[in-house]
């Protein structure tokens, strides 16, 4: 297992190198450059001045030179500066945006898992009951509702309709205007701080969790039903084991195997942020960072964020494979 892990990690190096080449090339080959806007808005720029600016931004060099320069610096831990924000790209992506996404998507992930798995189990155990039909109906609605629609409807409900009808203030969105220093200086209590953050996170977490929950509930139900119909479950029941034991000890562990893969592969997506949800709820996380950096042609930020996603995808693929072995004793790596 150890040797296998090391081998997979070593294999990741050429993979990530290739991924970085592809990402860099795609970014560099997209139409336009950061000077387009300037060129359009300032008719007085002469060709010479424009050339000087191109040099200042390093845009005058061929793509491969720019790539190797980037790679050389990246290997030393320097991912360059953000053109839009003027700060270090790594600091901006990993220090500012990623933790926010971890908080939002992590919470949504946890809420979705905590609800989807028990509901999926319940639905499978009570197959064809009214409750099962109701859950199935709800999950199909969840499946087919686009996230932008659900988000804006929830926003409208909790910031306009509910306050208008009940007089309650609107649920806030975006980030709270609070710093940790507010707690240390005593201008807000610890619980007030957490409460304010929580109130800001309710809507985006709910939106993300509802969408994710729908699919995981269906997977859980289908997976458990498949296991419940297998011979060894019949045997377990035949030898007189309590239904509870049959379900949780024999069936569930097997049914969770495909779920582990699903969840493992979903993690990089979660860290990549939820662009639409982040946009609707004004939450500056990774999704918005990637989108905005592409639009603004802020190459260093886009490279840092996308390269991180490439690393995480490769890493979580490996983790999912290793977890396979943990949950399924039939699988062994050598």
């Amino acid at each position: 297992m150890f040797a296998y892990t090391i081998r997979r990690l070593v294999q990741m190096i050429p993979l990530l190198f290739a991924a970085s080449v592809v990402i860099f090339a795609l970014l560099a080959l997209q139409p336009g450059d950061p000077l387009d806007e300037l060129r359009q808005n300032n008719p007085n720029l002469t060709a010479e001045q424009l050339e000087q600016l191109r040099k200042a931004y390093g845009l005058d060099q061929p793509i491969y030179v720019r790539y190797f320069k980037w790679l050389g610096r990246a290997l030393q831990g320097d991912l360059g500066q953000s053109r839009s924000y003027g700060v270090k790209a790594a600091e901006f992506v990993f220090g500012e945006r990623l933790p926010r996404t971890l908080l939002l998507s992590g919470l949504a992930f946890a809420v979705a898992l905590l609800i989807a798995i028990p509901v999926g189990i319940f639905s499978a155990v009570r197959q064809y009951s009214t409750a099962d039909y109701a859950i199935t109906f709800m999950t199909f609605i969840g499946f087919s509702t686009p996230v932008f629609f659900l988000g804006i409807i929830l926003l409208y409900l909790f910031t306009v309709v509910v306050p208008e009808r009940t007089g309650l203030p609107a649920l806030p969105t975006g980030l709270p205007s609070l710093f940790w220093s507010d707690v240390t200086t005593g201008s807000i209590s610890f619980f007030g701080f957490i409460g304010t953050w929580a109130s800001h996170l309710i809507l985006p977490v709910m939106t993300l969790a509802l969408i994710q929950m729908a699919s995981w509930t269906r997977y859980m139900r289908a997976s458990l039903l498949e296991v419940l119909n297998q011979d060894f479950i019949r045997t377990a029941r035949a030898k007189g084991l309590a239904e509870r034991k049959v379900l949780y000890k024999h069936a569930l562990r097997n049914a969770l195997i495909p779920i582990v893969t699903l969840v493992g592969l979903a993690v990089p997506g979660v860290l990549g942020g939820a662009i639409i949800t982040e946009n609707i709820f004004s939450y500056p996380g990774m999704g918005r960072t990637i989108f905005e950096s592409l639009l603004a042609k802020d190459y260093n930020v886009a490279m840092a964020a996308l390269a991180m996603l490439a690393v995480l995808t490769a890493l979580f693929n490996l983790i999912a494979d290793l977890l396979y072995a943990v949950v399924d004793p039939r699988i062994r790596y050598s």
Binding site: P31, G32, D36, E37, L38, R39, Q40, N41, N42, P43, N44, L45, T46, A47, Q49, L50, E51, Q52, L53, K55, A56, Y57, Q81, R83, S84, Y85, G86, V87, R100, I152, L155, Y156, T159, V160, P163, L168, P169, A170, L171, P172, T173, G174, L175, P176, S177, L178, F179, G192, G195, T196, A198, S199, H200, N279, I280, F281, S282, Y283, P284, R288
Partner: protein, 624 residues
Amino acid sequence: MKYLSKLATVWIVGAGLAFAGPQDNTLVVGASQEPTVLGGDFLSIISNQSIKAEVENYLLVPMIGIDADSKNFPIMVTELPTLANRRLRSVDIGGGKRRLEMDLTLRSDLKWSDGTPITTDDIAFFNEVGNAKGMPVLNPDVWERRKLIVKDKLNFTVTFEPAFYTDTIGAPIGYAPAHVMRPEWQKVLAQTQNLDAKRDAARLSEIYRSFFQAFGSNRAINQGKMVWSGPFRVTRWAAGSTIELTRNPNFWITPPGGADKYVQRVTYRIIQNTNSLLVAILGGGVDATSRVSITLDQARSPQLTSRAPGRYDIWSVPGAVWEHIDVNKFTNVERVKELGLDDKRTRQALLHALDRDSWVKAFFEGFEPVSHTWVAPVNPLFNDKVRRYEYNPDKAKALLAEMGWRPGPDGILQRTVGGKTVRFEIEFVTTSGNAIRERTQQLFAEQWKRIGVAVKINNAPSAVVFDAKYLNRAVEGTWTGMTMFAWVSSLAELGNLFKYKDLNTGATFIPTAENNFTGQNIGGWRNDEYDRLAAQAVVEFDPEKRAELFARMQVIWAEELPALPLRFRADPLITKKGLVNYLGATYSGGNNYPNWLPWAIGWTARGAQKLFDQAKYATAISTK
């Protein structure tokens, strides 16, 4: 029940912003963009966003502002330089060129937010930084033409050579807090002394950006590294969420009745998704919209207009963004020659075939007016008396018939050019994904079909269309017919969009290989009379004579019709009832900024006096 009350408490704490407004004499502005830096980036090297300029109107006032009537007004100087008071002098330096000299005196009561006096030292510092070797400034031509002469702590002269009338619009120069930023700048100078402006351009740019960022980033601002000169200072900037500004007690202008009767705290709420921003307005969490906020369509939505009576005023402020169709006129492009696009009759026929009046009525309820030239109607240089092209398909057909076009078997016009039968099918490009442009394109294609002109739509994402390798290469036939997009015009109109050559500077504006494809005259129109008039107009410092010259330029333009003028866009402005002096006009603050008089923004309920009437500068959108 207890749980519910706890939840409600959290809800109320979190939604504190919803209570802003006249109750606590504050203002919450809803914006769809966030500045990436503020203050320290005083040359806009890191960012030149509109939202940055808007927020900075509260924080770093210009020496000379631009009011709602597009006129200069003094903020930091004792009086405006004019030809009459001899503080403004225009000197003939031969060859049709002029030098402009402006004498200015700072008010003696100016202070930074930390109490340090603002003096000419701060202007000299601004000038020194901007002139540093390899500084990637946005408008290098201004820096090349401008000189600063400091006389004493309060008096200074700014000269421009060669000068253009646009040098007299707004402040001729900026300033920056030397007492705060100079020590760091000295380190930058030491770091860059051995670098070469050309060879080490990228390295220099990086060092400079780090310097500006050290005083402009979110973190630097929250650490209090920057000082402010405006009526407000930043107290908190929660990145991606809110920017809170509070009154600066050191500001020198007192609004009528005393500063305490006006807004004491301004909070920018950043909500990038405009639908979400609309919902925030509906929910009452926003008192007014920023220059960069929802669209005019959203401002006219029934959800808003039905909730507005008694709560909000909704305005449509005329804008200076000009939507038009540029036409390829480069005769070396075969398709241009075949279709006769270089002949003004073809372009006139194409415009006569469009029912633009019905279009603006149907699409924009008339809030966005049809344009007849490239100059915005609110610009003092606008000429109303130019040739207009009414909707007249018969006239269009007659003009095309004059050029030998006859209906073909499929109803589309055709003619013989050089022994070859040519069908009138014209390429029509616009930015895909822009719903209004795409809908407009469909409508126009249908109207052109009625006169026998077929349209071949060839849209691309804006990144492709605005790529200089595409838009600026009509001479190479990258686009062979028409491209529909917008130019952002300003009060400082130089006529560059349609110049072949600037006779004062020698710069050319038709993008070709000779000038490395720079310039905005992308369709390649050349009219020597227009160029001559433009060269005179931009060095004419008498506003009336200048307007006359521009009037003639517009007459020529409308007759020759190098592009098809469509409309001027309008911007929405939403304000809660009772908010005064938060007023948008096309050129207020230079670019339709509603906070061009930031110290006088207030609520009537708190004793603020209304100084201006928005109805003079915008059209009310009816609420029901």
